[in-house]
Structures are given as structure tokens and as C-alpha cells.
Symmetry: none
DNA sequence: CGCGCCTGTTACCTGTTTGTTACCGCCCCA
DNA sequence: TGGGGCGGTAACAAACAGGTAACAGGCGCG
């Protein structure tokens, strides 16, 4: 999952890059408008973070050029809310905007929200919700509370991913079964077996699960921390 | 194109409604969280503008409840950027957020940006009538009067649902029996047994039922509060 | 070829849900 | 005045669902 960061303030560009890399994204940077367009053409990213005032070609120009050939999601970065340029950018096809300064957490949250909205199915390698960080590329979960990392098997990963994509929601056993095993295979016995294995890996005390909640007769839910 | 505006500040709610109507949207309003959920269920909107701090049920709660049954786009309204709640809301499935105060123009621009590309909503799963909120996805009822949440079994849920779908109406025992057990199984004994179990869960004083009224010789009815 | 992990299968234990039966009190009416 | 139907209550047993465990086939890999 590649993100192109277009930002002429080098300090900001660095901190943003750092944040995104930690969240599991591959980051490319450009420090002016023309370089951005060039970078975009050479290696098309999956999302663009776009500062508005840039040397050589401003953000709106970049936005227009990119939109002419691609509907890659674009998030505008701007110093002021209420900026006329922001509105123009959104009308021109940008997907979202953020006002500087912003927190790293928010940035990542917004990126995810935009990706979900535009239906980018290829998810970022790193999915962090409800106190768990799932690294799909390594097949590992990190339990944030104590930093423990566990290796998951293919099926366990699919199951956890299904839950993490809808945190706080109760997913019926049947739908979990089909997302893990496909429309044909799988039954309740296998699900509970798999759930048992998953829990014994990710839960601190497997007999007292805190991450995955059972809703008897219906299915399972990933608990949001506040609940 | 219907927009549900959930905002407890009446002045702001009015100006937003005005703006949206002028922009060609059909506007519904709700001034607290529970009303929002109710309104959502009665007339599912195409987009929700959601203030975060609301009376009776806060914005995150509304977000969670709505997200449980639908992927209608949600735009969060918040007084502060960088609010922890905003991040939580976005992670919980909100699609965007705006910081108050915002300009009408921007509001409309953001709505358009969010609305570009929308998935349709799933069947509603939340049913709120007569002082009870039934969450089918979790198999739970919330007694609004005191906020108590009770877990129901499958049959209890079907029975209560049948009553809640026709509040204030007397439903004959026979029809209740067939909606719960199907055309084949079920008899009066089982119904009264089930009703006893349901009442002992949802009524405050089971020996003095207030939600479900018995109409001897005919059936049962869910009492409307105003009746 | 042998080893270890992943997966599916079976079985058992437990608590919950559901169906069954019984009893009690009430009201209506012969 | 005493059945008989009806509804509420209770206790019990059968059926079921979920958690746990052990085991075996398959597959990749050294």
C-alpha cells in the first residue's frame, strides 16, 4: 500500500512519513508540484496526501492533473480550515482534507476512512483497532497492551481480520464462516475450533476473553476498548 | 436525497437545515441520540450529520448503533479538532468529520465529496418503540427508562419483535405462535411459558407487567407509553 | 525420508435454551 | 356451588451451543 506525500515543508514531510511507515504504509515523497506529478506517473500510489501551496505547481494543479488520469484517493492538507482552495479541491475531486496541524493518530484514521470509502480492497498491511495491531504481511498480531507479538496461521488471520474490519459489531457465525472458508466449506464446529485457537493466541487469559466477545446464539464481536 | 441532521444546538441545527435544503437535500432533524436512532430507523437517510456530544445517547453511541445495521455515510461534527472522540468515531466507521464552526459552502462541499460513491445500506436491525430498544444484531433489549440491557434468547427475541412491530395492537395468541414457531410447531402452553420468560427479563416487576399487556381470551399487546 | 505445523474431525463437559408437565388461582357459567 | 378453561408460576428433563482437548491426515521443508 503506497502513499505519496506531497509537502514542501521538510520537517512536516518527515514526521508524516515516519507516522505512515509505522502504520505499515510504503511512503514516497515529493516536495513540489511537478515532482509530485512525476512521482505519480512513475509509481502510481494508492493514495495521495497533498499540500496545497507548493512551489512550481500548486496543489490544485496537481489535483487536476492527477484526477485527469486516475481516481486515486486524494487527501488535501491545508493550513486553514475554511480555505476557499479547500472547497475548490474537494469539488475538483479530492476525497477529504485535513487542517494542519493534525495528530498522527488522526492522520492514519483519516487515511483508513478514505480508503474504506473509496473501496480500496487491498488493505494496508497494518490494521490497528481495538488494542490490536495486525500485520498482514508478516501474519502477526501485536497486542498493544503489553507489546506481545504472536504469529497467526492463515485461517486465524482471516478470522481476526474479519472481526477487525468491523470492530464493535457482532458478526454472525455464518458470515464469519463464509469469509474464512468461502461459500462452500466450513461449519460451526470448525469456527469454534478456530476461534478457540485464535483466542488462545491473542488473549491474555484465554478462559476470560477480552478481545473477542461471544454473543451466544448469534456470533462474535471484537470489543472496542470503551465498551 | 435525505440527510439526517443530529445536533442538539437548535440554532446550529436550524442553520444547517436551511443550508442543506437550499442545496437541494431533504432534511430530517433529531436533537438527541435516541431520537436520532429512532429517526434513522423510521426513515433511513442517505447521509447522517452527527454531532458528538448529545443528550440521552452520545454521538459515538449513535454511530455504533447505526453502523451495526447500515453503512450509510456519517459525517461527524465536533467542536474540537484532535478530539479523541473524533478519532474513535472515524475508526468506528464514520466517513468524515468537520470542526465547528464551519461555513455553509464547505459543509455542502464535504457532503458532496462523501456522497460521491456510496454503498447502499443493509436491512435495519435496530427497532425502537414503546420505551424499548431492540438490538437484533446483539440479541439484546435496552429498557430505556433505566438503561438496563438484557440478553434475549432466539425465541424471546422473535416474540418481542413481533410485538414491537405492531405496538399498541393486540396480537392474537395464534398469530404470535405461528410467527415464533412457524406454521407447524408451538402451542398455547409454550407461548405462555415463553411470555413468562420474556416478561421476567424485560419487566421491572415481572408480577406487574407494564410493557406487555395480557388481553384475556385473545392475546397480548405491547403497551404504548402514552396510552 | 522424517519432522513439525496446520487443519479438519471427533468427543467430552458445561451452562443455556427449550419443551413438557404439573399446580394454583381466577373468572364465568351451568 | 363446583367444573372447566385460561393464564401465571414452577420444576424438571431433553436438546443444544460453546469451550476444551486429543488425535490424525496432509503438506511443506530440511
Amino acid at each position: 500500500m503506497k502513499v505519496l506525500v506531497v509537502e514542501d515543508d521538510l520537517a512536516l514531510s518527515d514526521v508524516v512519513s515516519f507516522t505512515l511507515r509505522r502504520a505499515g504504509y510504503e511512503v514516497m515523497t515529493a516536495h513540489d508540484g511537478l515532482a509530485a506529478v512525476e512521482a505519480f506517473e512513475q509509481v502510481p500510489p494508492d493514495l495521495i496526501l497533498l499540500d496545497l501551496n507548493l512551489p512550481r505547481l500548486d496543489g490544485l494543479g496537481v489535483c487536476r492533473k492527477v484526477r485527469a488520469v486516475s481516481d486515486v484517493p486524494i487527501i488535501i492538507l491545508s493550513v486553514r480550515a475554511g480555505d476557499e482552495a479547500v472547497v475548490r479541491g474537494l469539488e475538483m475531486g479530492a476525497d477529504d482534507y485535513m487542517v494542519k496541524p493534525f495528530s498522527p493518530t488522526q492522520l492514519v484514521a483519516r487515511i483508513r476512512a478514505v480508503m474504506r470509502r473509496v473501496g480500496v480492497s487491498a488493505a494496508p498491511t497494518m490494521l490497528t483497532v481495538a488494542g490490536l495491531a495486525l500485520d498482514r504481511s508478516r501474519g502477526e498480531v501485536l497486542r498493544i497492551e503489553d507489546g506481545a507479538a504472536v504469529r497467526l496461521t492463515g485461517l486465524e488471520l482471516k478470522l481476526l481480520e474479519a472481526l477487525m474490519l468491523h470492530p464493535g459489531q457482532v458478526l454472525p457465525s455464518d458470515s464469519l464462516i463464509t469469509t474464512v472458508w468461502g461459500p462452500e466449506g466450513g461449519d460451526r464446529t470448525m469456527l469454534k475450533q478456530l476461534m478457540y485457537r485464535l483466542r488462545s493466541k491473542i488473549e491474555v487469559d484465554a478462559s476470560r476473553p477480552v478481545y473477542v466477545e461471544t454473543v451466544p446464539g448469534i456470533g462474535y464481536a471484537l470489543n472496542m476498548p470503551s465498551d
